[in-house]
Amino acid sequence: MTIRKREVARRIFAHEFNNSTYKIQDEGEKSPVYVLTPLGLKCNRIFIVGALLEKEEAKPDSGIWRIRVSDPTGVFMGFVGRYQPEAFESLLEIEPPELVAITAKVRIFEGSRIMVFIRPESISTVTSDVRDYWVVETAKATIERIKRMKEGNEDAKLAKQIYSTDLEEYKNVVKQALLTIMEGFIEKAEETEIVDEEEEIEEEIEELEDIDEFEFEEEEWDLSELLED
Protein backbone atom coordinates (compact mmCIF):
# COMPACT_ATOMS: atom_id res chain seq x y z
CA MET A 1 0.00 0.00 0.00
CA THR A 2 1.28 3.43 -0.77
CA ILE A 3 0.71 6.16 1.74
CA ARG A 4 -1.09 9.02 0.11
CA LYS A 5 0.76 12.28 0.54
CA ARG A 6 -1.02 15.06 2.34
CA GLU A 7 -2.59 17.40 -0.18
CA VAL A 8 -1.08 20.87 -0.30
CA ALA A 9 -3.48 23.69 0.57
CA ARG A 10 -3.50 25.83 -2.57
CA ARG A 11 -3.92 29.61 -2.57
CA ILE A 12 -6.73 30.75 -4.79
CA PHE A 13 -9.07 33.75 -5.02
CA ALA A 14 -12.84 33.21 -4.90
CA HIS A 15 -13.22 34.49 -8.44
CA GLU A 16 -11.05 31.76 -9.96
CA PHE A 17 -12.49 29.13 -7.64
CA ASN A 18 -16.12 29.92 -8.36
CA ASN A 19 -15.53 29.81 -12.11
CA SER A 20 -14.38 26.20 -11.81
CA THR A 21 -16.70 23.49 -13.07
CA TYR A 22 -14.41 20.61 -13.97
CA LYS A 23 -13.83 17.64 -11.70
CA ILE A 24 -10.82 15.34 -11.93
CA GLN A 25 -10.83 12.02 -10.14
CA ASP A 26 -8.63 9.03 -10.81
CA GLU A 27 -10.22 5.65 -10.90
CA GLY A 28 -10.79 3.93 -7.60
CA GLU A 29 -13.40 4.72 -5.00
CA LYS A 30 -11.09 6.39 -2.51
CA SER A 31 -9.21 8.52 -5.03
CA PRO A 32 -9.16 12.16 -4.06
CA VAL A 33 -11.36 14.58 -5.96
CA TYR A 34 -9.69 17.55 -7.61
CA VAL A 35 -11.20 20.63 -9.11
CA LEU A 36 -9.47 22.00 -12.19
CA THR A 37 -9.67 25.80 -12.23
CA PRO A 38 -9.72 28.03 -15.33
CA LEU A 39 -6.01 28.75 -14.69
CA GLY A 40 -5.07 25.07 -14.69
CA LEU A 41 -4.76 24.59 -10.94
CA LYS A 42 -5.67 21.12 -9.79
CA CYS A 43 -6.74 21.50 -6.19
CA ASN A 44 -8.15 19.28 -3.49
CA ARG A 45 -7.45 21.47 -0.46
CA ILE A 46 -7.30 25.26 -0.20
CA PHE A 47 -6.29 27.82 2.41
CA ILE A 48 -8.23 31.08 2.38
CA VAL A 49 -8.35 34.22 4.49
CA GLY A 50 -11.39 36.44 4.25
CA ALA A 51 -14.43 37.87 5.94
CA LEU A 52 -16.96 35.40 7.28
CA LEU A 53 -20.13 37.16 6.22
CA GLU A 54 -22.86 34.75 7.23
CA LYS A 55 -23.44 31.48 8.93
CA GLU A 56 -26.83 29.84 9.06
CA GLU A 57 -28.20 26.36 9.28
CA ALA A 58 -28.77 25.04 5.77
CA LYS A 59 -32.03 23.45 6.88
CA PRO A 60 -33.58 23.70 10.34
CA ASP A 61 -32.07 21.13 12.72
CA SER A 62 -29.92 19.64 9.98
CA GLY A 63 -26.73 20.35 11.96
CA ILE A 64 -25.20 21.55 8.72
CA TRP A 65 -24.23 25.19 8.55
CA ARG A 66 -23.84 27.19 5.40
CA ILE A 67 -21.17 29.86 5.45
CA ARG A 68 -20.18 32.65 3.09
CA VAL A 69 -16.60 33.90 3.19
CA SER A 70 -15.50 36.87 1.13
CA ASP A 71 -12.11 37.79 -0.26
CA PRO A 72 -11.52 40.92 -2.38
CA THR A 73 -12.67 39.07 -5.53
CA GLY A 74 -15.80 37.21 -4.49
CA VAL A 75 -17.43 34.85 -2.05
CA PHE A 76 -16.59 31.27 -1.14
CA MET A 77 -19.60 29.22 -0.20
CA GLY A 78 -19.08 26.43 2.29
CA PHE A 79 -20.78 23.85 4.46
CA VAL A 80 -19.73 22.81 7.93
CA GLY A 81 -21.28 19.82 9.60
CA ARG A 82 -20.71 17.26 12.28
CA TYR A 83 -18.19 15.45 10.11
CA GLN A 84 -15.79 18.35 10.65
CA PRO A 85 -15.88 18.64 14.45
CA GLU A 86 -12.88 20.96 14.65
CA ALA A 87 -14.26 23.50 12.18
CA PHE A 88 -17.75 23.10 13.64
CA GLU A 89 -16.65 23.91 17.18
CA SER A 90 -14.73 27.00 16.10
CA LEU A 91 -17.58 28.20 13.93
CA LEU A 92 -20.01 28.10 16.86
CA GLU A 93 -17.87 30.65 18.69
CA ILE A 94 -17.47 33.08 15.80
CA GLU A 95 -20.03 35.80 15.19
CA PRO A 96 -19.95 37.19 11.67
CA PRO A 97 -18.75 39.46 10.31
CA GLU A 98 -15.24 38.47 11.29
CA LEU A 99 -11.93 37.91 9.52
CA VAL A 100 -11.15 34.21 9.40
CA ALA A 101 -8.53 31.83 8.05
CA ILE A 102 -9.96 28.59 6.72
CA THR A 103 -8.34 25.38 5.59
CA ALA A 104 -10.84 23.45 3.53
CA LYS A 105 -11.40 20.61 1.13
CA VAL A 106 -12.91 21.57 -2.19
CA ARG A 107 -16.11 19.94 -3.34
CA ILE A 108 -18.06 20.09 -6.53
CA PHE A 109 -21.82 19.74 -6.85
CA GLU A 110 -23.04 18.46 -10.19
CA GLY A 111 -26.77 19.12 -10.28
CA SER A 112 -28.82 21.16 -12.67
CA ARG A 113 -25.99 23.63 -12.31
CA ILE A 114 -22.40 22.68 -11.57
CA MET A 115 -20.99 24.54 -8.62
CA VAL A 116 -18.04 24.40 -6.30
CA PHE A 117 -18.04 24.91 -2.57
CA ILE A 118 -15.70 24.34 0.34
CA ARG A 119 -15.83 21.99 3.29
CA PRO A 120 -13.75 23.59 6.06
CA GLU A 121 -11.43 21.46 8.18
CA SER A 122 -10.38 24.28 10.46
CA ILE A 123 -11.50 27.85 11.01
CA SER A 124 -9.80 30.50 13.12
CA THR A 125 -10.18 34.23 13.55
CA VAL A 126 -7.24 36.30 12.38
CA THR A 127 -6.14 39.92 12.06
CA SER A 128 -5.99 42.05 8.92
CA ASP A 129 -2.22 41.62 8.47
CA VAL A 130 -2.79 37.90 7.96
CA ARG A 131 -5.40 38.77 5.33
CA ASP A 132 -2.99 41.18 3.62
CA TYR A 133 -0.26 38.57 3.44
CA TRP A 134 -2.73 36.02 2.08
CA VAL A 135 -3.87 38.38 -0.67
CA VAL A 136 -0.26 39.02 -1.73
CA GLU A 137 0.63 35.34 -1.58
CA THR A 138 -2.48 34.38 -3.52
CA ALA A 139 -1.88 37.13 -6.08
CA LYS A 140 1.63 35.77 -6.65
CA ALA A 141 0.36 32.21 -7.01
CA THR A 142 -2.30 33.37 -9.47
CA ILE A 143 0.20 35.37 -11.54
CA GLU A 144 2.39 32.28 -11.69
CA ARG A 145 -0.57 30.25 -12.97
CA ILE A 146 -1.34 32.89 -15.60
CA LYS A 147 2.28 32.59 -16.80
CA ARG A 148 2.01 28.82 -16.92
CA MET A 149 -1.15 29.09 -19.01
CA LYS A 150 1.00 30.62 -21.73
CA GLU A 151 3.69 27.96 -21.52
CA GLY A 152 1.10 25.24 -21.22
CA ASN A 153 1.71 22.19 -19.08
CA GLU A 154 -0.88 19.44 -19.23
CA ASP A 155 -3.30 20.93 -16.72
CA ALA A 156 -3.00 24.35 -18.33
CA LYS A 157 -3.80 22.91 -21.75
CA LEU A 158 -6.81 21.08 -20.42
CA ALA A 159 -8.02 24.23 -18.65
CA LYS A 160 -7.66 26.24 -21.84
CA GLN A 161 -9.67 23.65 -23.72
CA ILE A 162 -12.47 23.50 -21.16
CA TYR A 163 -12.79 27.11 -20.15
CA SER A 164 -11.27 29.08 -23.08
CA THR A 165 -9.78 31.17 -20.29
CA ASP A 166 -9.47 34.89 -20.83
CA LEU A 167 -6.17 35.63 -19.08
CA GLU A 168 -6.75 39.40 -19.12
CA GLU A 169 -9.83 38.91 -16.96
CA TYR A 170 -7.78 37.11 -14.31
CA LYS A 171 -4.97 39.66 -14.45
CA ASN A 172 -7.51 42.38 -13.78
CA VAL A 173 -9.03 40.52 -10.87
CA VAL A 174 -5.59 40.07 -9.30
CA LYS A 175 -4.83 43.73 -9.83
CA GLN A 176 -8.09 44.80 -8.22
CA ALA A 177 -7.43 42.56 -5.23
CA LEU A 178 -3.96 44.06 -4.77
CA LEU A 179 -5.34 47.57 -5.11
CA THR A 180 -7.85 46.97 -2.30
CA ILE A 181 -5.11 46.10 0.17
CA MET A 182 -2.89 48.88 -1.20
CA GLU A 183 -5.58 51.34 -0.13
CA GLY A 184 -5.21 50.01 3.38
CA PHE A 185 -1.45 50.63 3.35
CA ILE A 186 -1.86 54.16 2.09
CA GLU A 187 -4.39 54.94 4.78
CA LYS A 188 -2.03 53.60 7.40
CA ALA A 189 0.88 55.55 5.99
CA GLU A 190 -1.02 58.82 5.97
CA GLU A 191 -1.95 58.19 9.55
CA THR A 192 -5.53 59.06 8.90
CA GLU A 193 -8.06 57.62 11.24
CA ILE A 194 -7.49 54.02 11.91
CA VAL A 195 -10.05 52.25 9.87
CA ASP A 196 -12.48 50.39 11.95
CA GLU A 197 -12.14 46.88 10.72
CA GLU A 198 -15.76 46.14 11.39
CA GLU A 199 -16.92 49.05 9.30
CA GLU A 200 -14.68 48.01 6.49
CA ILE A 201 -16.17 44.58 6.47
CA GLU A 202 -19.70 45.94 6.65
CA GLU A 203 -19.00 47.89 3.51
CA GLU A 204 -17.68 44.83 1.85
CA ILE A 205 -20.81 42.96 2.72
CA GLU A 206 -23.03 45.65 1.30
CA GLU A 207 -21.03 45.58 -1.87
CA LEU A 208 -21.18 41.86 -2.08
CA GLU A 209 -24.86 41.63 -1.42
CA ASP A 210 -25.39 43.55 -4.61
CA ILE A 211 -23.77 40.79 -6.55
CA ASP A 212 -26.51 38.28 -7.01
CA GLU A 213 -24.29 36.13 -9.15
CA PHE A 214 -23.23 34.32 -6.03
CA GLU A 215 -26.67 34.05 -4.56
CA PHE A 216 -27.25 30.53 -3.63
CA GLU A 217 -30.29 28.89 -5.03
CA GLU A 218 -32.26 26.75 -2.69
CA GLU A 219 -32.46 23.36 -4.22
CA GLU A 220 -33.49 20.09 -2.74
CA TRP A 221 -30.13 18.61 -1.98
CA ASP A 222 -29.31 15.67 0.07
CA LEU A 223 -26.69 17.57 2.02
CA SER A 224 -25.62 14.75 4.25
CA GLU A 225 -24.46 12.79 1.26
CA LEU A 226 -22.33 15.63 0.05
CA LEU A 227 -20.62 16.01 3.35
CA GLU A 228 -19.91 12.43 4.20
CA ASP A 229 -16.50 10.93 3.84
Binding site: A101, T103, S122, Y133, W134, V136, K171, K175, L178, F185
Partner: protein, 312 residues
Protein backbone atom coordinates in the same frame (compact mmCIF):
# COMPACT_ATOMS: atom_id res chain seq x y z
CA UNK B 1 17.18 -12.34 -26.96
CA UNK B 2 20.38 -12.38 -24.93
CA UNK B 3 22.45 -12.22 -28.12
CA UNK B 4 20.76 -8.99 -28.98
CA UNK B 5 21.48 -7.62 -25.50
CA UNK B 6 25.14 -8.57 -25.88
CA UNK B 7 25.29 -6.61 -29.10
CA UNK B 8 23.79 -3.61 -27.34
CA UNK B 9 26.32 -3.86 -24.54
CA UNK B 10 29.10 -4.13 -27.09
CA UNK B 11 27.95 -0.92 -28.70
CA UNK B 12 27.84 0.79 -25.32
CA UNK B 13 31.37 -0.25 -24.47
CA UNK B 14 32.70 0.80 -27.85
CA UNK B 15 30.99 4.16 -27.48
CA UNK B 16 32.40 4.71 -24.01
CA UNK B 17 35.92 4.18 -25.26
CA UNK B 18 35.29 6.30 -28.31
CA UNK B 19 34.20 9.16 -26.11
CA UNK B 20 37.57 9.05 -24.41
CA UNK B 21 39.32 8.94 -27.78
CA UNK B 22 40.09 5.24 -28.05
CA UNK B 23 39.06 3.17 -30.96
CA UNK B 24 38.54 -0.44 -30.06
CA UNK B 25 37.64 -3.52 -31.98
CA UNK B 26 33.95 -4.26 -31.60
CA UNK B 27 34.40 -7.86 -32.69
CA UNK B 28 36.86 -8.44 -29.88
CA UNK B 29 34.45 -7.00 -27.34
CA UNK B 30 31.58 -9.06 -28.68
CA UNK B 31 33.63 -12.23 -28.50
CA UNK B 32 34.61 -11.65 -24.90
CA UNK B 33 31.11 -10.73 -23.80
CA UNK B 34 29.68 -13.81 -25.49
CA UNK B 35 32.24 -16.01 -23.82
CA UNK B 36 31.50 -14.57 -20.38
CA UNK B 37 27.74 -14.36 -20.65
CA UNK B 38 26.81 -17.34 -22.82
CA UNK B 39 29.51 -19.80 -21.89
CA UNK B 40 30.29 -18.87 -18.31
CA UNK B 41 26.85 -17.41 -17.42
CA UNK B 42 28.42 -14.38 -15.78
CA UNK B 43 25.89 -11.67 -14.87
CA UNK B 44 25.67 -8.75 -17.27
CA UNK B 45 27.30 -6.05 -15.16
CA UNK B 46 30.18 -8.31 -14.14
CA UNK B 47 30.77 -9.30 -17.74
CA UNK B 48 30.86 -5.66 -18.81
CA UNK B 49 33.21 -4.67 -16.03
CA UNK B 50 35.56 -7.56 -16.72
CA UNK B 51 35.64 -6.77 -20.41
CA UNK B 52 36.30 -3.10 -19.79
CA UNK B 53 39.06 -3.91 -17.32
CA UNK B 54 40.64 -6.26 -19.84
CA UNK B 55 40.61 -3.60 -22.54
CA UNK B 56 42.05 -0.95 -20.23
CA UNK B 57 44.96 -3.23 -19.35
CA UNK B 58 45.46 -4.48 -22.87
CA UNK B 59 45.51 -1.03 -24.46
CA UNK B 60 47.42 0.50 -21.56
CA UNK B 61 44.92 3.24 -21.15
CA UNK B 62 45.38 5.34 -18.03
CA UNK B 63 42.29 4.70 -15.93
CA UNK B 64 41.60 8.38 -15.23
CA UNK B 65 41.23 9.14 -18.91
CA UNK B 66 38.36 6.74 -19.31
CA UNK B 67 34.95 8.06 -18.41
CA UNK B 68 33.58 4.61 -17.91
CA UNK B 69 33.43 4.27 -14.17
CA UNK B 70 33.34 7.71 -12.72
CA UNK B 71 34.89 8.14 -9.33
CA UNK B 72 32.65 7.90 -6.30
CA UNK B 73 32.39 11.25 -4.56
CA UNK B 74 30.51 12.73 -1.60
CA UNK B 75 27.82 15.28 -2.32
CA UNK B 76 29.67 17.96 -0.35
CA UNK B 77 32.61 17.49 -2.75
CA UNK B 78 30.52 18.52 -5.73
CA UNK B 79 31.56 22.10 -6.41
CA UNK B 80 32.29 22.26 -10.14
CA UNK B 81 29.96 21.75 -13.10
CA UNK B 82 30.59 19.28 -15.93
CA UNK B 83 32.26 16.58 -13.84
CA UNK B 84 31.41 12.92 -14.28
CA UNK B 85 30.84 11.38 -10.88
CA UNK B 86 29.22 8.44 -9.15
CA UNK B 87 27.22 8.78 -5.94
CA UNK B 88 25.75 6.57 -3.26
CA UNK B 89 22.57 8.32 -2.18
CA UNK B 90 19.05 8.19 -0.81
CA UNK B 91 16.19 9.86 -2.66
CA UNK B 92 15.02 12.54 -0.23
CA UNK B 93 12.19 14.09 -2.17
CA UNK B 94 10.59 13.92 -5.59
CA UNK B 95 9.11 17.07 -7.08
CA UNK B 96 6.44 17.53 -9.69
CA UNK B 97 7.99 18.00 -13.09
CA UNK B 98 6.40 20.48 -15.43
CA UNK B 99 8.57 19.63 -18.39
CA UNK B 100 8.02 16.66 -20.68
CA UNK B 101 11.82 16.49 -21.13
CA UNK B 102 12.29 15.60 -17.49
CA UNK B 103 11.42 12.14 -16.25
CA UNK B 104 12.04 12.88 -12.58
CA UNK B 105 13.39 15.75 -10.53
CA UNK B 106 13.99 16.08 -6.81
CA UNK B 107 16.58 15.81 -4.08
CA UNK B 108 19.10 13.10 -3.28
CA UNK B 109 21.38 13.04 -0.28
CA UNK B 110 24.20 11.27 1.48
CA UNK B 111 25.86 11.83 4.88
CA UNK B 112 27.50 15.02 3.65
CA UNK B 113 24.71 16.88 1.96
CA UNK B 114 21.68 17.10 -0.26
CA UNK B 115 21.63 17.97 -3.96
CA UNK B 116 19.06 18.39 -6.67
CA UNK B 117 18.95 15.76 -9.37
CA UNK B 118 17.36 15.67 -12.78
CA UNK B 119 16.65 12.49 -14.71
CA UNK B 120 16.14 13.42 -18.34
CA UNK B 121 13.32 11.61 -20.09
CA UNK B 122 15.81 10.76 -22.84
CA UNK B 123 17.95 8.85 -20.35
CA UNK B 124 15.25 6.17 -20.32
CA UNK B 125 15.81 5.18 -16.70
CA UNK B 126 13.49 3.29 -14.41
CA UNK B 127 11.86 5.63 -11.92
CA UNK B 128 13.40 6.04 -8.48
CA UNK B 129 11.33 6.12 -5.30
CA UNK B 130 11.42 8.45 -2.33
CA UNK B 131 13.19 7.00 0.70
CA UNK B 132 15.08 4.32 -1.25
CA UNK B 133 18.85 4.24 -1.67
CA UNK B 134 20.67 3.97 -4.97
CA UNK B 135 24.04 4.09 -6.67
CA UNK B 136 23.94 6.90 -9.23
CA UNK B 137 26.76 5.96 -11.59
CA UNK B 138 28.22 8.27 -14.23
CA UNK B 139 26.10 11.33 -13.61
CA UNK B 140 27.17 14.81 -14.63
CA UNK B 141 27.41 17.76 -12.29
CA UNK B 142 25.84 21.00 -13.41
CA UNK B 143 25.11 24.38 -11.95
CA UNK B 144 21.64 25.82 -12.28
CA UNK B 145 20.49 29.09 -10.80
CA UNK B 146 23.64 29.34 -8.72
CA UNK B 147 23.25 25.91 -7.17
CA UNK B 148 24.88 22.60 -8.00
CA UNK B 149 22.83 19.71 -9.29
CA UNK B 150 23.47 16.37 -10.98
CA UNK B 151 21.98 15.25 -14.27
CA UNK B 152 21.24 11.65 -15.14
CA UNK B 153 21.74 11.00 -18.85
CA UNK B 154 21.74 8.05 -21.21
CA UNK B 155 25.21 6.96 -20.13
CA UNK B 156 24.35 7.00 -16.45
CA UNK B 157 23.30 4.03 -14.42
CA UNK B 158 20.96 3.90 -11.44
CA UNK B 159 21.08 0.80 -9.29
CA UNK B 160 18.96 0.30 -6.22
CA UNK B 161 20.91 -0.86 -3.16
CA UNK B 162 19.91 -2.55 0.08
CA UNK B 163 21.99 -0.24 2.24
CA UNK B 164 20.09 2.62 3.85
CA UNK B 165 22.13 5.72 3.10
CA UNK B 166 21.84 8.16 5.98
CA UNK B 167 21.20 11.84 5.47
CA UNK B 168 22.71 14.85 7.18
CA UNK B 169 20.67 16.75 9.71
CA UNK B 170 18.98 19.17 7.42
CA UNK B 171 18.29 22.70 8.40
CA UNK B 172 15.74 24.56 6.35
CA UNK B 173 13.88 27.83 6.52
CA UNK B 174 10.17 27.84 5.80
CA UNK B 175 7.58 30.59 5.50
CA UNK B 176 4.02 29.39 5.52
CA UNK B 177 0.68 29.21 7.26
CA UNK B 178 -0.02 26.90 10.18
CA UNK B 179 -3.08 25.22 8.69
CA UNK B 180 -3.57 22.37 11.13
CA UNK B 181 -2.85 21.59 14.77
CA UNK B 182 -3.18 17.97 15.73
CA UNK B 183 -5.40 16.80 18.54
CA UNK B 184 -2.47 15.32 20.50
CA UNK B 185 -1.03 18.81 21.01
CA UNK B 186 -1.22 21.11 24.01
CA UNK B 187 -0.65 20.03 27.58
CA UNK B 188 0.46 16.41 27.36
CA UNK B 189 1.97 13.83 29.69
CA UNK B 190 5.17 12.02 28.89
CA UNK B 191 6.46 8.68 30.17
CA UNK B 192 9.13 9.07 32.88
CA UNK B 193 11.25 6.31 31.36
CA UNK B 194 11.18 6.94 27.62
CA UNK B 195 9.71 10.46 27.33
CA UNK B 196 7.08 9.30 24.87
CA UNK B 197 3.72 11.05 24.94
CA UNK B 198 1.15 9.09 26.89
CA UNK B 199 -2.54 8.78 26.16
CA UNK B 200 -4.90 8.39 29.11
CA UNK B 201 -2.00 7.61 31.45
CA UNK B 202 -0.62 4.87 29.21
CA UNK B 203 2.79 4.89 27.56
CA UNK B 204 2.78 3.08 24.20
CA UNK B 205 5.89 1.14 25.28
CA UNK B 206 5.75 0.88 29.09
CA UNK B 207 2.00 0.77 29.67
CA UNK B 208 0.72 2.31 32.89
CA UNK B 209 3.47 4.61 34.05
CA UNK B 210 4.22 7.71 36.04
CA UNK B 211 4.34 10.68 33.77
CA UNK B 212 5.31 14.31 33.72
CA UNK B 213 3.66 17.31 32.07
CA UNK B 214 4.95 18.84 28.86
CA UNK B 215 3.72 21.32 26.30
CA UNK B 216 3.97 20.71 22.57
CA UNK B 217 2.30 21.44 19.26
CA UNK B 218 2.24 19.00 16.37
CA UNK B 219 1.01 20.77 13.29
CA UNK B 220 1.22 21.37 9.58
CA UNK B 221 2.87 24.35 7.92
CA UNK B 222 1.79 24.83 4.32
CA UNK B 223 3.22 27.39 1.91
CA UNK B 224 0.88 26.61 -0.98
CA UNK B 225 3.49 24.44 -2.70
CA UNK B 226 4.81 22.18 0.04
CA UNK B 227 3.66 20.71 3.31
CA UNK B 228 5.80 20.48 6.43
CA UNK B 229 4.81 18.54 9.52
CA UNK B 230 6.28 20.40 12.46
CA UNK B 231 6.80 19.92 16.17
CA UNK B 232 6.99 22.89 18.52
CA UNK B 233 8.40 22.45 22.01
CA UNK B 234 7.57 24.38 25.17
CA UNK B 235 10.16 27.07 24.47
CA UNK B 236 8.85 27.70 20.92
CA UNK B 237 5.29 27.89 22.20
CA UNK B 238 6.16 30.22 25.07
CA UNK B 239 8.04 32.58 22.73
CA UNK B 240 5.06 32.76 20.40
CA UNK B 241 2.14 32.90 22.83
CA UNK B 242 3.51 33.67 26.25
CA UNK B 243 2.02 30.36 27.36
CA UNK B 244 4.66 28.12 28.91
CA UNK B 245 4.21 24.98 30.93
CA UNK B 246 3.28 26.95 34.07
CA UNK B 247 0.70 29.08 32.28
CA UNK B 248 -0.68 26.01 30.54
CA UNK B 249 -1.20 24.26 33.87
CA UNK B 250 -2.99 27.34 35.16
CA UNK B 251 -5.33 27.31 32.19
CA UNK B 252 -6.04 23.63 32.69
CA UNK B 253 -6.82 24.22 36.36
CA UNK B 254 -9.01 27.22 35.69
CA UNK B 255 -11.16 25.33 33.18
CA UNK B 256 -10.80 21.99 34.95
CA UNK B 257 -9.91 20.68 31.53
CA UNK B 258 -6.50 19.97 30.04
CA UNK B 259 -7.82 20.31 26.48
CA UNK B 260 -8.60 23.99 27.22
CA UNK B 261 -4.87 24.57 26.62
CA UNK B 262 -5.14 23.17 23.11
CA UNK B 263 -8.18 25.33 22.40
CA UNK B 264 -6.29 28.41 23.56
CA UNK B 265 -3.20 27.56 21.49
CA UNK B 266 -5.35 27.00 18.41
CA UNK B 267 -6.94 30.41 18.89
CA UNK B 268 -3.56 32.08 18.95
CA UNK B 269 -1.66 30.09 16.33
CA UNK B 270 -3.96 28.46 13.79
CA UNK B 271 -4.28 30.18 10.40
CA UNK B 272 -1.31 32.51 11.05
CA UNK B 273 1.82 32.85 8.96
CA UNK B 274 5.18 31.92 10.44
CA UNK B 275 8.84 32.05 9.55
CA UNK B 276 10.74 29.14 10.98
CA UNK B 277 14.05 27.34 10.91
CA UNK B 278 14.23 23.66 11.67
CA UNK B 279 15.91 20.33 11.07
CA UNK B 280 14.23 17.98 8.68
CA UNK B 281 13.95 14.54 10.18
CA UNK B 282 12.46 11.48 8.54
CA UNK B 283 8.99 12.88 8.91
CA UNK B 284 8.88 15.96 11.11
CA UNK B 285 10.55 19.28 10.89
CA UNK B 286 11.98 19.80 14.36
CA UNK B 287 11.67 23.52 14.90
CA UNK B 288 14.67 25.41 16.26
CA UNK B 289 13.33 28.90 15.87
CA UNK B 290 9.90 30.15 14.97
CA UNK B 291 8.29 33.59 14.84
CA UNK B 292 5.15 35.21 13.52
CA UNK B 293 5.80 36.46 10.01
CA UNK B 294 6.23 40.21 9.90
CA UNK B 295 6.95 41.72 6.52
CA UNK B 296 6.34 45.03 4.90
CA UNK B 297 4.13 44.29 1.93
CA UNK B 298 3.66 47.76 0.49
CA UNK B 299 6.62 47.72 -1.92
CA UNK B 300 5.93 44.18 -3.04
CA UNK B 301 2.31 45.01 -3.76
CA UNK B 302 3.35 48.08 -5.75
CA UNK B 303 5.72 45.99 -7.82
CA UNK B 304 3.14 43.28 -8.44
CA UNK B 305 0.59 45.84 -9.60
CA UNK B 306 3.19 47.38 -11.90
CA UNK B 307 4.10 43.99 -13.36
CA UNK B 308 0.45 43.33 -14.13
CA UNK B 309 0.17 46.64 -15.91
CA UNK B 310 3.21 45.93 -18.04
CA UNK B 311 1.91 42.53 -19.08
CA UNK B 312 -1.52 43.85 -19.92
Amino acid sequence: MIEKRIEELTQQIVQRFEKSGYKINAKEVLKRLKLLMLEFKVPENEAVRTTVNYLVKELEIPRESLAVESEFVRISDITKPNQWVSLKVKVVQLWDSNSPNISQVGLIGDETGIIKFVIWAKAGKKEVEEGKSYIFKNVVTDSFGGRMQVNVNRNSEIVEIEEDVSLPPREIEVVGALISIQQNSGLIRRCKICNRAMTKGLCPIHGKMDGYDDLRVKGVIDDGENVYEIILNEENIKNLTGIGLKEAKNIAEEFLDRTAVLTELKKRLLGRYFKLIGNKGERYLIVKNIEFLKVGLKEEVEELIKSLEVQA
